[in-house]
């Protein structure tokens, strides 16, 4: 089932044509990976999906981006509301310099998702548990989120994102700043999250894409070259560029 659909999306940074005519369907309860060399536009495209590009004044977007059939760039849609439904995790862990608890509770609080303190406690606990970090932090919820290690911080950021109860979770190279152990934990987590959300992950690592995703899109110089089942892309790419990239001939 389609969660998000994009049709003929073009993105311009001033005069720079960053994304060229990308059409893609992102399925529900599926992990979709965006791969491609640096500067190919995969992160830019990801940021279109929750309108994070709105904060860049020179950025211009054309084409249709739909979520559950609704245009997310329509005048009636407030990006604040949209971002509550489409969560995002960034490349570099960016916990707020507040307590671990406050980090996770921030989203539910500002969106008024819960009515009581006990409900909020429950949401925080559930989110931390789903982000597989509860065991490590349950005794130190009042400590600063920035006191955690890199891998823990990233899982905290994931917990923070899922505490807002989004429908789609965007991940921009979530494991690139982490060591292999933390990466493995994050990957395990992504696989787990697939059962509840539609997850879109941008990654440099093709092994990671192969491990965690069911669908893969290959971007190159602003074009979406190829999109399909992950197994198909990695074993039997149609396009020569995809073939070259996954075999390590460039990128």
């Amino acid at each position: 089932m389609n969660k998000m659909t994009t049709k003929n999306v073009d993105v311009f940074y001033g005069k720079n044509h960053a994304i060229k005519d990308v059409s893609i369907d992102i399925l529900d309860k599926t992990v979709t990976a965006f791969i491609g060399p640096s500067g190919c536009g995969k992160s830019t495209f990801l940021r279109c999906l929750n309108r994070m590009n709105d904060t860049i004044s020179i950025c211009r977007i054309t084409g249709d981006l739909l979520m559950d059939g609704e245009d997310i760039y329509a005048k009636s849609v407030d990006p604040v509301q949209l971002r509550a439904r489409v969560g995002m995790v960034f490349q570099k862990p960016n916990p707020f310099p507040k307590s671990i608890y406050d980090n996770v509770a921030y989203g539910p609080k500002i969106h008024g998702l819960v009515d009581s303190k006990s409900d909020l406690d429950e949401v925080v606990e559930k989110s931390l548990k789903r982000a597989a970090i509860w065991g490590e932090v349950k005794d130190r919820l009042n400590e600063s989120g920035t006191s955690l290690s890199g891998g823990q911080q990233q899982r905290l950021c994931i917990a923070r994102a899922i505490a807002t109860a989004p429908e789609v979770l965007l991940m921009d190279e979530p494991a690139s700043a982490l060591d292999p152990i933390a990466t493995a934990q994050i990957e395990e987590l992504i696989d787990e999250l697939r059962h509840s959300y539609s997850v879109v992950i941008v990654t440099h690592s093709m092994q990671q894409a192969a491990r965690v995703s069911q669908k893969t899109a290959f971007f190159h110089m602003g074009d979406m070259v190829e999109y399909g089942d992950t197994s198909a892309i990695f074993t039997n790419p149609v396009d020569q560029r995809t073939q070259d990239y996954i075999t390590g001939r460039f990128g």
Binding site: M52, P97, K98
Partner: protein, 575 residues
């Protein structure tokens, strides 16, 4: 073509070693410059504090003279105590206590040993205790500035001198002659002789001027004028020679004047001010009561006041009165409550810093409300919300330029806009605070913008991605994280505002204000203006008060900065 392997050989060449040495030397030099600079500034600070602290010590205590005063029921109406003339009552008390002080100048000197404010304090005390009327009560009269400085030793001290001879007194009414069996006064004559020689020198200078004049008139052919000048010259020379001859005499009789050290005799409890003196005899004025006729003093003391009267505000008679009171145990000192609790006054002993401190407090309160609560939102708007266009860039340039505008210009603005156009009350902390607020505004805006810029974009992205609105991002994340930087800027701006004098003079905060301001709309003055005014007053007692006021200003500044630093600590977070 450059051969890179050749280049890498250069690292081991002697030139490379020399370069390294030079670099290390430069680094060391810079280190020593730094240490030197810090030591110099530390030294400057230490000297400043030491000098101000040392000077201000005199203002921390005040002296009181306890004397019995009779609250004559005839002069004080029990139902209308406020109307009674306590000033006259105090003067009468002093006259009765020291009946030997006569003559206009000396009587004025007598009244001047207590503060003019003492009578009002006595009135207030009696008003609270009306049943005292008709009784004689002891009262602590506040010492005047002159008396206070005398007790603190600012005018030097009267010192006893050893003597060997027996003193024969011959009293005839007011005047008194005395002679010692030994040459007891000989050591004191150096001072008077030097004075005579100085006077002779003055005559010689005058003679030289006259001689010059004589020559000029001679050349012009005006022989009448020349003759006049010649006469004058000869007269001056004769005077000089007479004085020099007198000074050379071993047993001459010398006159004491205001340029010579004062000499006193003390016969029991009674003081004598010496007027003429030779090596073993002299005459003087009795200040007290002693027996008439010729008699031998069994108990006498010789004293010298080394500062000549011209160099001090306290007269000989006043010094004697104060010494007498001190000997009687009537003089006590305590913390200078007038300085710490009252407003300004022309009388140094009544002048206090509290009025100016409260004025500064109200002014700073208005300043911080004005500058902080306009400056921070302005910075947030410019940094987080405003589009980057020509207009905002113009605003930005203007703000940066405003920070460099001389403060007096803001005073002019306050005068013309707040007082002239808006008709607000001059001399009031609200106007002063607004003027200083406008002056501080650009500093706070610039600091706040820098602090807001320093908040990592990842924090903004993180919050935005959770669906926080722009306002929520600013209020929940950016503002708390930039608060330490904003507060640092605020400290700098407020410290500058606290020390500002010029713009406040423009809006009339330099007025002489005695009352403690109750609120920002009362007339008030501020600490730096008070210091500026006191530094200008001629009374010597204001010197210590000025220094003490500087210490109060520094303490005010310290408290303000400490508050800001503590606040900043609360906001400081790691990320």
């Amino acid at each position: 073509m450059i051969d890179m392997t050749e280049l890498s050989k250069k690292h081991r060449s002697p030139q490379a070693a020399a370069r390294l040495h030079k670099r290390n030397a430069a680094q060391k030099r810079l280190k020593y410059y730094g240490i030197l600079a810090i030591s110099l500034s530390g030294l400057a600070l230490a000297i400043l504090l030491w000098s101000v602290l040392g000077k201000s010590a005199g203002a921390l205590t005040e002296y009181q003279i306890q004397m019995e005063i009779t609250l004559d029921a005839e002069l004080i109406d029990r139902d209308n105590i406020e109307r009674a003339d306590f000033s006259q009552l105090s003067k009468d008390m002093l006259s009765n206590r020291f009946p030997f002080v006569n003559g206009r100048t000396e009587r004025r000197g007598l009244f001047d040993i207590i503060s003019s404010g003492a009578a009002y304090e006595l009135r207030d005390l009696v008003a609270k205790n009306p049943n005292w009327v008709g009784q004689t009560i002891p009262f602590d009269f506040l010492a005047s500035d002159i008396a206070d400085l005398y007790f603190k030793g600012a005018y030097g001290q009267i010192e006893p001198i050893t003597h060997r001879g027996a003193l024969t007194i011959q009293r005839d009414g007011e005047s008194l002659a005395f002679s010692s069996s030994d040459a007891d006064f000989a050591p004191l004559l150096g001072n008077v002789r030097a004075r005579l020689l100085a006077r002779a020198n003055d005559h010689r200078i005058e003679a030289a001027l006259q001689e010059n004049g004589r020559r000029v008139f001679n050349e012009r052919g005006d022989f009448v004028e020349a003759a006049k000048r010649k006469n004058n010259r000869d007269f001056e020379l004769a005077q000089a020679e007479a004085l020099e001859a007198l000074a050379a005499q071993p047993d001459g009789v010398f006159e004491l004047d205001q340029f010579t050290a004062s000499i006193f005799l003390k016969l029991g409890q009674v003081w004598v001010r010496v007027e003429t003196i030779s090596s073993n005899a002299g005459t003087g004025k009795i200040l007290g009561d002693i027996a008439n006729g010729v008699w031998e003093a069994s108990d006498w003391q010789l004293l010298i006041y080394n500062s000549p009267p011209i160099t001090r505000k306290v007269s000989d008679v006043q010094a004697i009165l104060l010494e007498t009171l001190r000997e009687q145990g009537k003089v006590s000192s305590g913390i200078n409550r007038h300085f710490f609790t009252s407003g300004d006054s022309r009388e140094p002993e009544l002048a206090g810093i509290w009025g100016a401190a409260v004025g500064s407090f109200w002014t700073m309160l208005v300043t911080i409300i004005f500058a902080f609560f306009i400056g921070v939102p302005a910075a947030i708007y410019l940094e987080e919300f405003a589009r980057d266009n020509k207009f905002t860039r113009l605003v930005e340039i203007n703000i940066n330029n405003l920070a460099a505008v001389p403060s007096i210009v803001f005073g002019l603005l306050g005068l013309s806009v707040f007082i002239g156009f808006m008709g607000m009350q001059r001399s009031s902390p609200i106007v002063g605070g607004m003027v200083l607020g406008i002056m501080t505004l650009p500093v706070i805006i610039i600091a706040a913008r820098a602090a807001i810029k320093a908040v990592p974009p990842s924090i903004r992205d993180g919050a935005l991605a959770l669906g926080a609105s722009d306002l929520q991002v600013s209020m929940h994340h950016v503002l708390p994280l930039s608060m330490p930087g904003i507060l640092t800027g605020t400290i700098l701006g407020m410290a500058r505002a606290l020390g500002e004098t010029a713009p406040l003079i423009m809006i009339g905060m330099v007025a002489f204000i005695v009352d403690i301001p109750d609120g920002p709309t009362n007339n008030a003055t501020v600490l730096p203006v008070q210091i500026f005014r006191w530094a200008d007053f001629p009374e010597r007692a204001f010197e210590a008060r000025t220094a003490a006021a500087i210490m109060v200003l520094l303490a005010f500044l310290f408290t303000m900065n400490l508050t800001a630093i503590l606040l900043r600590k609360r906001f400081e977070r790691r990320w």
